[in-house]
């Protein structure tokens, strides 16, 4: 690791040296040129620097691939860098368009930066698909999406009985759905009402206080919500239920769902606030002029206009809830129960991924591979939700432009 760091420093040093010398030469040479010059001396410097530094870097990559010795690598780098330097030095002159090449290089780097985001997506899809395929070789896809029994953790080595484990993911999907439902049915109305209050009722001063306060909720890391659910909210709910004569566990779909709902409130409120504010004031004026109250204007006119955007916001909130991890890991309980009772321990897709992929990994056992299959499901579902939401929101915002 350290030797690579040194070699990178060597590359940078070669670049800098070439830059300085080439610029100096260009300055001398271009000073006597009578006509307007295309490239300023520093561009000639950059050209030389990039030539020698680029070749040195190439040498570094090649020798890293061939695992050559550090000493040989340095020699190779310096030789190539010197060659590149002289190549560039020879070109210096009023007619050489160094700037064009340098700018071409800059633009190529920028393209590369944009492509990294694409590569990330491709990487996600391929890594999920690849391991999932291996999983579906051992467990049929149909069994996976329709099976009612999940006990991945008990699937062990070949010599154990019941080695195939049980990979019916329906209880996992049901648990995810239940928690998402609870979370969104808390976040959606509260978030929406906050957005409405902020855009229609709050004074400028009240807005200045309320908005950042709500946004603090969005800035709190999810692990903190998880801890709060586990140690404060869960016991509180259990205590409350006990005082009413019910016995419920601390960790349940309800505990995780409610706390997740609180976490998503600012997400819903800020997205809805944007779409509500995008409805032109003239709509409101038209309604007020007919003698409508603020709430009538809001629910019957503004809401009608903002509805697509609000649906988009809700879809994004659902996608967010499905992918949320730390709260469910700490507070959902984790038992793969197929239940509609919110006061039972349930498991979710993200919970299973965490349990299956932390600790010892065996990339040839269906236990580990099943996490990738679940990850693929998670990715596909959230991707679809995001796409639909983005299309709705985009179409909606185009309407009022």
């Amino acid at each position: 690791m350290n030797s690579i760091l040194i070699l990178i420093c060597v590359t940078l040093a070669l670049t800098a040296i070439s830059f300085v010398f080439a610029r100096q030469k260009a300055r001398r040479q271009l000073a006597v040129a009578a006509k307007t010059i295309h490239s300023q001396p520093s561009y000639h410097g950059w050209f030389a620097g990039l030539m020698s530094g680029g070749l040195a870097f190439l040498a570094l990559i090649v020798s890293a691939f061939l695992s050559l010795s550090p000493l040989f690598t340095i020699v190779l780098m310096v030789v190539l860098a010197v060659l590149g330097f002289f190549f560039a030095m020879n070109r210096i002159g009023a007619d050489f368009r160094a700037r064009t090449y340098v700018e071409y290089f800059i633009k190529s780097i920028l393209v590369l930066c944009s492509l990294i985001a694409v590569f990330t997506t491709i990487g996600i899809i391929f890594s999920l698909l690849f391991e999932s395929m291996r999983f579906f070789k051992e467990v049929s896809f149909l069994d996976f999406v329709t099976g009612l029994d999940w006990s991945a953790q008990t699937a062990f080595r070949d010599d154990q009985v019941g080695q195939s484990g049980s990979f019916g993911a329906v209880p996992i999907f049901a648990g995810t759905f239940l928690i998402t439902l609870i979370a969104v049915s808390i976040a959606a109305p509260i978030g929406l009402m906050i957005a409405i209050f902020l855009s229609e009722y709050a004074s400028v001063r009240a807005k200045r206080i309320i908005k950042p306060t709500i946004e603090i909720l969005a800035g709190i890391p999810t692990i903190v919500y998880g801890f709060f659910a586990l140690l404060t909210f869960g016991p509180f709910i259990r205590g409350f239920a006990e005082s009413m004569g019910f016995g419920i566990p601390t960790q349940s779909a309800f505990t995780a769902g409610v706390v997740m709902g609180i976490m998503i409130i600012p997400f819903v409120s800020s997205l809805s606030n944007d779409v509500i504010n995008a409805v032109p004031q003239s709509m409101r004026d038209g309604s007020y002029a007919l003698g409508a109250t603020k709430s009538e204007t809001m629910t019957k006119v503004v809401f009608a206009g903002a509805l697509p955007g609000i649906i988009g916001a809700f879809l994004l909130a659902i996608s967010r809830a499905i992918g949320e991890t730390m709260i469910v890991v700490l507070a959902a309980g984790g038992a793969a129960n197929l239940t509609a009772n919110p006061f039972e321990s349930v498991s979710t897709v993200t919970f299973q991924i965490v349990t299956l992929l932390t600790g010892d990994l065996e990339f040839d056992s269906p236990k580990t591979l099943s996490a990738f299959a679940l990850g693929l499901m998670l990715f596909v579902v959230t991707l679809l939700l995001n796409m639909i939401a983005l299309i709705i929101v985009r179409r909606y915002s185009a309407k009022y432009e």
Binding site: G291, V301, G305
Partner: protein
């Protein structure tokens, strides 16, 4: 004209936005019959003044109205007065047509619904039809009442807004440069409609077009830099103005 009653009477009305005064003490009486036009160069305060009559200025943060405005002898800025009720009685049509993102039918039915003017669907249908008819739009839209109001042309949209306003059965209709976003043909149609409506409603119209004021109004008030300069029968204002500034404006020297 002389036996017409006074609808609005204003004493020393001032409008200020965030402490900056836009209207400096207006005294005016607006008659019940016919069309009253407010003219003047842009920024003279005529639109701000129009919004005084249905308290639309209340919806603008930082806007403050002082002075006395009476409608049928009743102070409309009294704390006991309900702006919602006032606006049902004083309708308004805006500069840019602003139909709601709903069907044509629902646009017109919106006001009657919130005010509970129809006891059943049949009554509501009747109100919608008669309002659209009065606004001269019925024949053009009767086959597509379920279509969106925003799909109509600009002139149709503005007439839809007028239909929406008269569906609430107001006493007064305020119009804030209603033709400024329309082409000449739609404008002509709209002016015809205003003439027709003036038989049943008290109409106050703000316009930047002197020709329009001359064509459609019975009385004209000229505003300049936040002051009411002159208020008289339209014919007098345009043929024999008493103030030199009115003279300058109608001859095109200011504005």
């Amino acid at each position: 004209m002389s036996q017409s009653k006074i609808k609005f009477s204003c004493r020393d009305v001032r409008v200020a936005y965030s402490g900056k005064e836009a209207l400096h003490g207006i005294d005016i009486e607006i008659e019940d019959q016919g069309v009253t036009a407010f003219i003047g160069p842009s920024g003279c305060g005529k639109s701000s003044f129009l919004r005084v009559f249905n308290r639309m200025n209340d919806t603008i943060p930082g806007c403050k109205v002082t002075g006395i405005v009476k409608m049928d002898g009743e102070d409309i800025y009294a704390p006991t007065l309900d702006p919602v009720l006032l606006r049902a009685r004083v309708g308004m049509v805006f500069q840019k047509p602003n139909p709601f993102p709903k069907s044509i039918y629902d646009n017109v039915a919106y006001g009657p619904r919130i005010h509970g003017l129809a006891a059943n669907k049949a009554e509501l249908d009747e109100i919608v039809e008669s309002s659209l008819t009065k606004a001269g739009l019925w024949d053009e839209v009767k086959d597509r009442l379920k279509d969106g109001g925003t799909g109509l042309s600009g002139g149709q949209q503005q007439r839809l807004v007028i239909a929406r306003t008269i569906a609430v059965s107001p006493e007064v209709i305020l119009m804030d440069e209603p033709a400024s976003a329309l082409d000449p043909i739609a404008t002509a149609k709209l002016e015809e409609l205003i003439d027709e409506l003036s038989k049943k409603f008290c109409i106050v119209i703000v316009t930047h077009s002197m020709a329009q004021a001359a064509r459609i109004s019975d009385r004209t008030a000229f505003f300049h830099m936040g002051n009411l300069i002159e208020y008289d029968q339209t014919s007098n204002i345009f043929t024999n103005p008493t103030d030199s500034r009115t003279q300058d404006y109608i001859t095109g020297r200011i504005g």
